[in-house]
């Protein structure tokens, strides 16, 4: 291997290394940054997460999340930092405890009650229409229909 080729190889390896770590905080996984940002409410938006908002505020918050992660904090610790500063309001999903539990339980409870109600009502309707439907048509008329239809087939 010539000396020139060795140098070129070194250069390629170095370039690859710099490309792989564009910033100093190279250890921070962007997926982790995204996961934390997706749980936080963008404070200047309506119903958007910090991960999804293109606003400058959200951009700065993603930077702050990245900094905290780079400093060795866990995603839970970063989340807790934002809750400490903004309150639980900052979390897009309310925590599953205390009064907030209602938000998680009531829709499913309502769905269950609704299904039971529909089932009860349907049972009552079918029970009532069952015998009545049979007696609604006069046997004489039914006999006439049967006769005329069999004549049509001839």
């Amino acid at each position: 291997m010539s000396r020139g080729r060795g140098l070129a190889l070194t250069a390629v390896v170095l370039m690859a290394a710099t490309w792989a770590s564009p910033t100093g905080a190279a250890q921070v996984d962007e997926k982790t940054v995204y996961d934390v940002a997706a749980q936080l409410r963008c404070v200047v938006c309506q119903s958007l997460s910090v991960a999804d908002s293109p606003s400058e505020t959200a951009n700065q918050m993603r930077g702050i999340i990245r900094e905290h992660l780079a400093a060795g904090e866990s995603p839970e610790q970063v989340r807790a930092y934002f809750v400490e500063k903004y309150g639980e309001w900052i979390l897009l999903s309310p925590p599953k405890s205390g009064f907030n539990l209602l938000v998680w339980v009531v829709p499913f409870a309502g769905l269950g009650v609704g299904l039971v109600l529909v089932a009860v009502v349907l049972r009552r309707w079918s029970r009532r229409t069952g015998p009545e439907a049979q007696s609604a048509v006069d046997p004489a008329v039914r006999e006439r229909i049967r006769r005329e239809m069999s004549e049509m087939d001839k």
């Binding site: 404070v43 200047v44 700065q60 934002f82 500063k85 903004y86 309150g87 009650v113 009552r124």
Partner: protein, 177 residues
């Protein structure tokens, strides 16, 4: 039988929803109580537009009025700007420090804003938004009143007025340091 079932089932389903909506629509979704009131104010060290350092640590023992603003914040930041300078001039010899933090702004626009209102109290940019998040700021303008012990005592959301500033500064100055 069927009618009696519906007679209780419909109100039972509708009334709680109406009560919830009646409660929900009466509250303002933009009014979010700050969890920081009553807690120690986050430390910060910034460099003002004139190149001087300003930190909360160096202001211990003083009542601090920390104002978050931006030159693009129209009209609220423009509305409150004269009151900020008036408050500063009135209280600067009484143990009060007014500090402005400019967030998400461009330097030229911010300097123009400061020149327009002749602000003579320290104003510093917060380029990465760290101080703003440390104070749970979600919009401008917001003003924090910090007592002599370094605790956040009140957060004003929206334009500050002379009356609100006077009320809180007088109250915090009366407290022993």
């Amino acid at each position: 039988m069927k009618t009696s079932l519906l007679r209780w089932a419909i109100p039972a389903a509708v009334v709680p929803v109406l009560v919830l909506l009646a409660y929900g629509f009466r509250t303002n979704p933009r009014e979010i109580p700050s969890p920081l009131v009553g807690r120690p104010a986050a430390a910060f060290t910034l460099t003002t537009f004139t190149g001087d350092p300003v930190s909360l640590e160096s202001l211990r023992g003083k009542v601090v009025m920390l104002n978050f603003w931006a030159s693009w914040c129209v009209p609220a930041c423009y509305d409150e700007a004269p009151a900020l300078e008036r408050t500063w001039l009135q209280y600067k010899d009484k143990g009060v420090m007014v500090v402005g933090v400019d967030i998400q702004d461009r330097e030229e626009a911010a300097k123009k804003f400061l020149a327009q209102f002749g602000h003579s109290f320290p104003n510093a940019p917060d380029p990465a938004g760290r101080v703003a998040v440390d104070y749970g700021v979600y919009g401008v303008p917001e003003t924090f009143f910090i007592d002599r012990k370094g605790r956040v005592r009140f957060k004003q959301v929206g334009a500050l007025t002379d009356e609100i500033a006077r009320q809180w500064l007088d109250r915090l100055l009366r407290e022993p340091s």
